[in-house]
């Protein structure tokens, strides 16, 4: 496997020096060894050793991928993907109209964006989803946990208590109607306390905290492997006010979007973002459009909740 030196994830200054010294492939670097490398380029032995470790890791992961190592390999045929998608569950919203538009509910491994005017119910829907993701499998849920990243401070715990209580009651009614053993067993663990304890809440006050939280999320998710939903309530808020450099904003949002897709894909979680609406003033009329629309390529349909979505809450 002859990897080009320019395509290895090394520091740019180091890469430039390697290319200037005449190294072309990763194999040449590995052959030279750390002492030779530090002499050729004029870097310390520790730096050369670190660089060679990175190169070795890259080449090693190349080799394992071509050997067909399962698990972290992201290569598959469309048929295998279809089977995976068909076996995947959805997070239901308890609003059948909404579930119908979404094709069954909020999809795992995809990013869903919810946008709407202030007060229309975006945070309510997110809280509902954070409870719904925890419904046990025998009731048709995913038995997962939820991460809630709040940037606007609109998360009300008493409201979540209401939603959770209603959801537990709903499941109890189903269990009474069907009288099956696994239903009753699942209900023992599905209580208000367990629901609340499985919603991991993070409060981010500005865009730097938000970015840091998202970049640290993969480590958190590897420890808590049952998380199936990541909600970022208010992705527009930290980026809209007080941001002078617009190109930096676009770059940060794009990087954030890529990081979220990696999280959604690797951990089989659904990522839900809420967005604000802004007015685009046209020539003859003005229209309401989602803010930050062009910057964050949302993967699923944005639902412009116009306030006429019935039965949004379970209780």
């Amino acid at each position: 496997m002859q990897r080009d030196v320019g395509s290895l994830p090394l520091a740019p200054a180091l890469r430039a020096r390697l290319v200037a010294a005449g190294f072309q492939t990763a194999q040449e670097l590995l052959d030279t060894g750390p002492c030779g490398l530090s002499k050729e380029i004029g870097i310390s032995k520790e730096e050369a050793l670190e660089a060679l470790q990175v190169v070795r890791q890259e080449c090693h992961s190349d080799a394992t991928q071509t050997a067909g190592a399962p698990g972290t390999s992201r290569k598959c045929t469309a048929l295998e993907l279809l089977e995976q998608e068909q076996a995947q569950g959805f997070i239901i919203t308890f609003c059948s109209a909404l579930d119908n538009i979404l094709g069954g509910g909020v999809q795992l491994t995809k990013i869903t964006e919810i946008c709407g005017e202030p007060g229309v119910g975006k945070t309510q829907l997110c809280m509902q989803l954070a409870v719904d993701v925890q419904i046990p499998e025998c009731f048709g849920g995913l038995a997962g946990e939820a991460v809630f990243i709040d940037t606007e401070g609109s998360f009300m715990v008493d409201r979540v208590v209401d939603v959770a209580t209603a959801c537990v009651q709903h499941c109890q009614l189903i269990a009474e109607a069907h009288q099956e053993e696994d239903h009753l067993k699942a209900l023992e663990t599905f209580s208000l306390e367990s629901i609340l304890s499985h919603i991991y809440y993070f409060r981010c006050r500005d865009y730097i905290e938000l970015l840091a939280q998202v970049y640290l999320l993969p480590d958190f998710l590897s420890e808590h492997s049952k998380v199936r939903l990541v909600v970022i309530d208010g992705i527009a808020f930290p980026f809209r006010h007080d941001f002078e450099d617009l190109s930096l904003r676009t770059r940060l949002l794009n990087g954030l979007a890529q990081q979220l897709i990696i999280i959604a894909n690797d951990h089989k979680a659904a990522v839900v973002l809420t967005n604000q609406m802004t007015t685009r003033i046209g020539q003859s009329q003005s229209t309401l459009v989602p803010a930050l629309a062009a910057a964050v390529p949302a993967k699923e349909a944005a639902i412009p909740a116009g306030g006429h979505c019935p039965n949004l809450h379970a209780g």
């Binding site: 496997m1 395509s7 010294a21 998608e85 930096l248 990696i262 894909n265 390529p297």
Partner: protein
């Protein structure tokens, strides 16, 4: 600029390399451009041996000029024109995707780029029975949507499943992963590993801007270098292995009322030979808008500005038939 190594060419022995290095001759370019008599004296090596080595190095490393007529013959025999399966898009592209070239689809989010890519993958895999490689960097590849398109085009379930197996999907969310995937492809094609790959003719990359955008701009200098690395990989793949490479790109505006222009800047604009802009038609009274306008923004063969209307509805991207005005989901 390759380093001089012991086994680089037959005449270059392990003893010669450190001697040459001591007198300042480190790379092939240094060797070939230096005065050999001087070097022979300084390193106390035989002049004849050095001349022989130079001849071999020149043969190995220099590029040879080709005759225009030979090039044309070679092009005629190796280039294929692959129909995309969408007649109106074929008209735009001068009868289809040309192998050996990079074609770009650009548009705003929701303009139908991924749908057109899926449609191309479906028709190539089903109609032309070609293997397709889909590099997905946005998470937008939905196998059930591809299956839906295949179901609309073929009745037989066996055929549909076979077609699905011919589409190879690799998820790359990072520019280094994308470079790695492309180099893996290059290695497997040059070693002619047939096994699961089969006759690969089309590589679809959705999207290139998603992995490059976070690196461009500001004080970062490596973004441009990585972008050009990627460009070089794509062009090399297309040219050496006669593949048709399709990439998708975003669009930006200079100001809020300015015209749409492709993202990734001027340096990237030299990479694709053909550029197609996808736009949604202005919202009409119907709720479900599946119509898209594709216009030619750059082409080596056709005049730019040609527009066609596509429908990205349930059967995959199709041209709009004049009889049925709407074809909702």
């Amino acid at each position: 600029m390759a380093l001089l190594r012991a086994a680089l060419c037959p005449g270059l022995t392990a003893q010669m390399v450190p001697l040459l290095r001591a007198s300042g001759v480190r790379t092939v370019v240094d060797f070939v451009s230096s005065d050999l008599e001087d070097v022979a004296q300084k390193c106390s090596l035989s002049y004849k041996a050095l001349v022989a080595v130079r001849r071999v190095l020149l043969a190995q490393f220099s590029a040879f000029p080709a005759n225009g007529a030979d090039l044309y013959e070679e092009l005629k025999s190796s280039t294929a024109i692959l129909s995309t399966g969408i007649p109106s898009l074929d008209k735009l592209l001068d009868s289809g995707l040309y192998t050996g070239e990079v074609t770009e689809l650009m548009g705003a989010p929701g303009s139908g780029k991924t749908q057109v890519c899926l449609s191309i993958a479906a028709s190539m895999s089903l109609g032309l029975k070609q293997h397709v490689l889909f590099l997905d960097s946005t998470g937008g590849f939905t196998a059930s949507r591809l299956y839906q398109m295949l179901q609309a085009q073929a009745e037989d379930e066996e055929e549909q499943l076979e077609a699905l197996q011919r589409v190879q999907v690799t998820r790359v969310f990072d520019v280094y992963e994308m470079l790695r995937a492309l180099q893996e492809l290059r290695d497997s094609l040059s070693q002619q590993v047939l096994s699961s790959t089969g006759p690969l003719k089309v590589v679809l990359i959705d999207s290139v801007s998603a992995v490059i955008y976070p690196l461009l701009g500001g004080k970062q200098s490596e973004g441009l270098a990585l972008m050009m690395q990627l460009a070089r990989e794509l062009k090399m793949l297309a040219r050496e292995f006669s593949l048709a490479v399709v990439v998708t790109n975003q669009v930006t505006r200079d100001s809020s009322a300015g015209p749409l222009k492709p993202a990734l800047g001027r340096s990237w604009s030299f990479v694709p030979s053909t550029r197609v802009l996808l736009q949604s038609k202005e919202a009409t009274s119907e709720k479900t808008n599946t119509r898209r306008i594709a216009s030619l923004a750059k082409s080596p063969r056709q005049p730019t500005g040609i527009q066609v209307v596509l429908d990205v509805g349930s059967g995959g991207a199709q041209e709009l038939s004049p009889a049925t005005p709407t074809q909702g989901l």
